[in-house]
C-alpha cells in the first residue's frame, strides 16, 4: 500500500500544475534592459495580468498591440507584467520596438526577461502565449491559454474591474 502511495505521490508531483485559486508563485526577474530586478510580490495590492510570451510566437505578435491598449486604459490598480522567454533578450527588444512602431505608442507595461524559462516551468505554461490574472492578494483568478483578441480583452477588463 505504501509503495502504491509513493508511486502516486511521485506521479502527481510530475503533473501538478497551477490552477485557479492557487497562490501565484513569486519570482524575481530582471527587466528587459537589465537595469533593475522586480518581483511579483512587489505588486501585491494591485491586480496583475502575468503574460508569458516570446518573439518567435505568432500569437504573441497578434495580442501585443491589444496589451498596449489594455495597460493604457488603466492608470491605477492594474499592472500588466509580461515575461519574455527568449534565449536572447535582444530579440525581445527588437520585437517590442516593432510593436511600438506599429501602435505608435511607447510600451506601457513591464517586461521582464526569463531566458531560463523558470517562470513558464513554474506556471506550467501549456501554450504560448499564456496569461494569468492575479488578484490583489496574489491568487490566480483566471488562466488564459493562447492569444487574446479584442473581444476577449473586453471580457478580461470586466474581470479586472471586478477584482480592483
Amino acid at each position: 500500500m505504501k509503495r502504491i502511495l509513493l508511486f502516486f505521490v511521485l506521479g502527481v508531483s510530475l503533473y501538478a500544475g497551477v490552477s485557479i485559486g492557487d497562490q501565484a508563485k513569486d519570482f524575481n526577474l530582471k527587466t528587459l534592459d537589465a537595469k533593475k530586478s522586480l518581483s511579483l510580490k512587489s505588486f501585491k495590492g494591485e491586480v496583475v495580468l502575468l503574460n508569458l510570451w516570446a518573439s518567435w510566437c505568432k500569437g504573441c505578435k497578434k495580442e501585443m498591440p491589444e496589451f498596449v491598449a489594455l495597460q493604457n486604459s488603466y492608470k491605477k490598480g492594474f499592472k500588466l507584467i509580461t515575461v519574455n522567454v527568449d534565449d536572447d533578450p535582444k530579440k525581445a527588444q527588437k520585437f517590442l520596438a516593432s510593436v511600438e512602431k506599429k501602435t505608435g505608442q511607447k510600451i506601457p507595461f513591464i517586461t521582464l526577461q526569463n531566458p531560463s524559462k523558470s517562470v513558464a516551468k513554474d506556471y506550467q505554461c501549456a501554450a504560448m502565449p499564456s496569461s494569468y490574472l492575479i488578484d490583489k492578494e496574489g491568487k490566480i483568478r483566471n488562466i488564459i491559454v493562447g492569444s487574446l483578441n479584442e473581444d476577449e480583452i473586453e471580457q478580461l477588463k470586466t474581470e479586472i474591474n471586478q477584482l480592483k
Binding site: A54, W56, C57, K58, V85
Partner: protein, 72 residues
C-alpha cells in the same frame, strides 16, 4: 534492497513521462525558425505540415503557435 530497487524503477518510469520527454511550448524557439519549415512555399508547407501531423501523430506539429491541442 527491494525499496531501493522499487524507487529506482519509479524514477526510471517517471523519466519516460510525457512531461519530461515532450518539447514544452516555451521551448519551441528553434522549431519556430523559418528555416525549420518543411517547404519554402507557404501553401505547400501548410499541406505538408498537415500530412506530417497525421503521419507522425506529433504533439504541436511544426508550429510554435499555441499548444497544438487544436482547441484554439
Amino acid at each position: 534492497m527491494k525499496t531501493t530497487l522499487f524507487l529506482t524503477l519509479i524514477v526510471l518510469l517517471n523519466g519516460c513521462s510525457d512531461k519530461l520527454t515532450r518539447v514544452m511550448p516555451y521551448e519551441k524557439e528553434h522549431f519556430a525558425d523559418p528555416k525549420m519549415s518543411l517547404s519554402p512555399l507557404a501553401e505547400r508547407a501548410e499541406h505538408e505540415g498537415h500530412i506530417f501531423l497525421i503521419r507522425e501523430a506529433s504533439a504541436g506539429g511544426d508550429s510554435a503557435y499555441q499548444g497544438g491541442c487544436g482547441c484554439r
